[in-house]
C-alpha cells in the first residue's frame, strides 16, 4: 500500500495543511482563471469548493494533481510542490490521491470488478485471492458487491459514480478529490454518495475536497466552504456561517440571486447603441 494513515483524530489535530495553494495564477487561452488564489485545506476535513460556473473549480483540482501547470504561484500537496515533481514522483503522489471524475470515467472495456481492480493490477503483484478480497471489500463499502460482474454500460449514473468511488479508494488514499459528485443524481443516489463521503472521512480519515453546487448537500457534508469568484477566494468558512455572512458574493451565491457581483448579463456593447437608438451601431 502506498500510504499508511494514522487515525483520523491525530490527523485532524495535525497543524500542517494537506493542501496549500499560494498566489496561484493561471491563464487558459485569453481567459484569466486564477488571479492570486490562496487557500489551505486541513488534514482530515471535508472541504467544499463553490463558485459560479466557469470560475475554474475543476481547473483547481487539476492543479492539485499536476494535470495542469500554473503560470505562477505554488501548489503543495502533502508538503510536496506539485509543479516541481518529477514524473515518477508525481505518479507516486497520485497513487495517494483518489480522483472522482464528474462522468465517473470508468474504463468501458472492463467489468465493475476489473475497473476497481485496475489500479491494484497496475501497481502491485498481489495474489489473485487477496486482490479479489480487497476489491470486494471496496465494492461492499459502496454497496455494489453484487454488481461486480456488470459492465459500465449496464450501470445507472449513481451506480457508476459509486463504482468510481470504490476505484478511487482502492489504495486507501490520503486525499479524495470529487469533481461535481452530486450532478445528475436522483435524491436517493445523492444521499448514498453523501453518506459515503462522510463515512470515508470519518472511518478512514480521508481528506476530501469536493467541487459542487448543491448547497443543501454541502451543508450536510462539508466542514468548510471556499467560495471562489473572479479568480480569487472571495469567502470562506463553515457552510452555515457562510450562508449568513453579509457580503455581496455570499448573498448572491447562497441566496441564489440572479443578478449581483456575478452579473446576469454577459458583457456586451451598449444595448441602446446596438439596437440603433442613438449613437452608432456595432
Amino acid at each position: 500500500m502506498p500510504a499508511t494513515l494514522p487515525p483520523a483524530e491525530t490527523l485532524a489535530d495535525a497543524p500542517a495543511p494537506l493542501v496549500e495553494v499560494r498566489g496561484l495564477r493561471t491563464r487558459i487561452g485569453n481567459k484569466m482563471i486564477f488571479d492570486g488564489l490562496d487557500l489551505e485545506v486541513a488534514r482530515g476535513s471535508v472541504t467544499a469548493i463553490m463558485g459560479p460556473s466557469g470560475t475554474g473549480k475543476t481547473t483547481l483540482l487539476r492543479h492539485l494533481t499536476g494535470q495542469l501547470q500554473a503560470d505562477a504561484g505554488s501548489v503543495r500537496v502533502d508538503g510536496e510542490d506539485v509543479a516541481t515533481l518529477s514524473r515518477r514522483a508525481l505518479f507516486s503522489l497520485r497513487e495517494r490521491i483518489g480522483f472522482l471524475f464528474q462522468n465517473s470515467a470508468l474504463l468501458t472495456d472492463f467489468s465493475v470488478f476489473e475497473n476497481v481492480a485496475f489500479p491494484l493490477r497496475q501497481h502491485t503483484r498481489l495474489p489473485e485471492e487477496l486482490l479479489r478480497n480487497i476489491v470486494l471489500t471496496k465494492l461492499q463499502a459502496v454497496g455494489l458487491r453484487g454488481a461486480a460482474q456488470l459492465m459500465p454500460s449496464e450501470l445507472s449514473g449513481g451506480m457508476a459514480r459509486r463504482v468510481a468511488l470504490a476505484r478511487a479508494i482502492v489504495f486507501d488514499p490520503m486525499l479524495i478529490l470529487y469533481d461535481e459528485p452530486f450532478v445528475g443524481l436522483d435524491p436517493i443516489a445523492l444521499n448514498q454518495v453523501l453518506r459515503l463521503i462522510r463515512t470515508l472521512n470519518h472511518t478512514l480519515g480521508i481528506t476530501s475536497i469536493l467541487v459542487a453546487h448543491e448547497l443543501a448537500a454541502i451543508r450536510l457534508v462539508a466542514d468548510r466552504v471556499f467560495l471562489i469568484a473572479n479568480g480569487k477566494l472571495v469567502a470562506q468558512g463553515a457552510p452555515d456561517e457562510l450562508a449568513h455572512q453579509d457580503s455581496p458574493w455570499t448573498r448572491q451565491f447562497f441566496g441564489g440571486e440572479a443578478d449581483g457581483p456575478v452579473p446576469f448579463h454577459y458583457p456586451a456593447p451598449d444595448y441602446a447603441v446596438q439596437l440603433g437608438f442613438g449613437g452608432t451601431a456595432e
Binding site: Q67, F91, F99, N103, T108, Q122
Partner: protein, 255 residues
C-alpha cells in the same frame, strides 16, 4: 499553439506534422514500458489483425481475380499469356498487397482505433488512467501502434495469398491457362529478397504509418462528438495520402 498560427492552414498543417512527430517519439519512448501490458498488445493485434481478416481476404480474392482478367487481356495482345502467373504475383507482392492492405486496415481498424481513443479522451478515461498513475501513452497508445506494425505485414501476406488464389481461379480454372505454366513461371521469376521481402518491408512501414496516424488523431481529437467524427475522417484521409506517398518513395529506393 498561438492563435495567429492557427489561422494559416499551411502553417497549421506543418505544426500538426510536427506534433505528430513529437507524438511518435513519445510513443516510441513508452514502448518499453508498454511491453508490461502484453495482454493489451495481444488484444490489439487480435483486433487489428484477426478482425480484419474477412475484409482483407475478400478484397484480396477479388483484386487477384480482376488483375488476372485485365492482365490476360493485355498479355494476349502480345501473345504472352504464359507470364500471367508471374505478373499477377509481382504486382501483388511488390505493390498491391502492401498498399491495398494498408488502405483497408486504415478504413477498418484505423478508424475504430481513432474513435475509441477519441471517446476515451472525451469520457475522461485517459485522464483517469493518468490519475491512477498509469501512463496512457504506454497503456493505450503504444500497444495500438505496435499492433499495427505487427498485424499489417501478416495481413499483407494473407492478401497476397488470396490474390494469387484469385488469379489462379481466373487464369487457370476459367480462362484455361496451363496450371504448370502458371506456377512454374511464377516461382522461377519471383525473387524472395527483391520482391517478397521488399513488399513486406513496405507493409511494416505502412503498418507504422497507419497506426501512428490513427492513434495520434484519436489522442488529439477534440473531446466532442463532432471532434471525434472529424478526427476519424482525417485518419482515413491522411493514412491514404501518406501510405501512397511513402509507397512511391520506398519503391524508388527498394528497386
Amino acid at each position: 499553439m498561438n492563435a495567429r498560427l492557427r489561422d494559416n492552414w499551411l502553417l497549421d498543417g506543418i505544426a500538426r506534422v510536427g506534433e505528430c512527430g513529437l507524438f511518435f517519439v513519445a510513443v516510441l519512448g513508452a514502448l518499453p514500458k508498454s511491453l508490461r501490458y502484453w495482454r493489451e498488445l495481444f488484444r490489439q493485434v487480435w483486433f487489428v489483425g484477426a478482425m480484419s481478416l474477412v475484409i482483407v481476404m475478400t478484397c484480396g480474392l477479388f483484386v487477384g481475380m480482376v488483375l488476372a482478367l485485365q492482365l490476360y487481356y493485355t498479355l494476349s495482345i502480345f501473345g504472352g499469356t504464359a507470364a500471367l502467373g508471374t505478373v499477377v504475383a509481382l504486382s501483388l507482392f511488390r505493390e498491391l498487397g502492401p498498399v491495398v492492405t494498408a488502405l483497408l486496415v486504415a478504413g477498418r481498424a484505423g478508424t475504430a482505433v481513432t474513435a475509441e481513443i477519441g471517446l476515451m479522451r472525451a469520457t475522461d478515461q485517459l485522464d483517469a488512467m493518468s490519475m491512477m498513475a498509469v501512463d496512457p501513452l504506454a497503456y493505450v497508445a503504444s500497444p495500438r501502434f505496435l499492433a499495427g506494425v505487427i498485424a499489417m505485414p501478416l495481413l499483407a501476406c494473407v492478401f497476397n495469398a488470396m490474390g494469387i488464389f484469385g488469379g489462379h481461379l481466373v487464369g487457370v480454372s476459367w480462362l484455361g491457362l496451363d496450371n504448370g505454366t502458371f506456377w512454374g513461371n511464377m516461382t522461377s521469376t519471383v525473387d524472395l529478397h527483391k520482391d517478397i521481402l521488399a513488399g513486406l518491408y513496405k507493409s511494416i512501414v505502412f503498418g507504422g504509418v497507419v497506426s501512428l496516424i490513427a492513434v495520434f488523431q484519436g489522442y488529439t481529437a477534440p473531446p466532442t462528438s463532432e471532434g471525434v467524427a472529424y478526427s476519424t475522417t482525417r485518419t482515413v484521409v491522411f493514412s491514404s495520402i501518406v501510405t501512397l506517398a511513402f509507397d512511391f518513395v520506398m519503391t524508388a529506393f527498394l528497386t
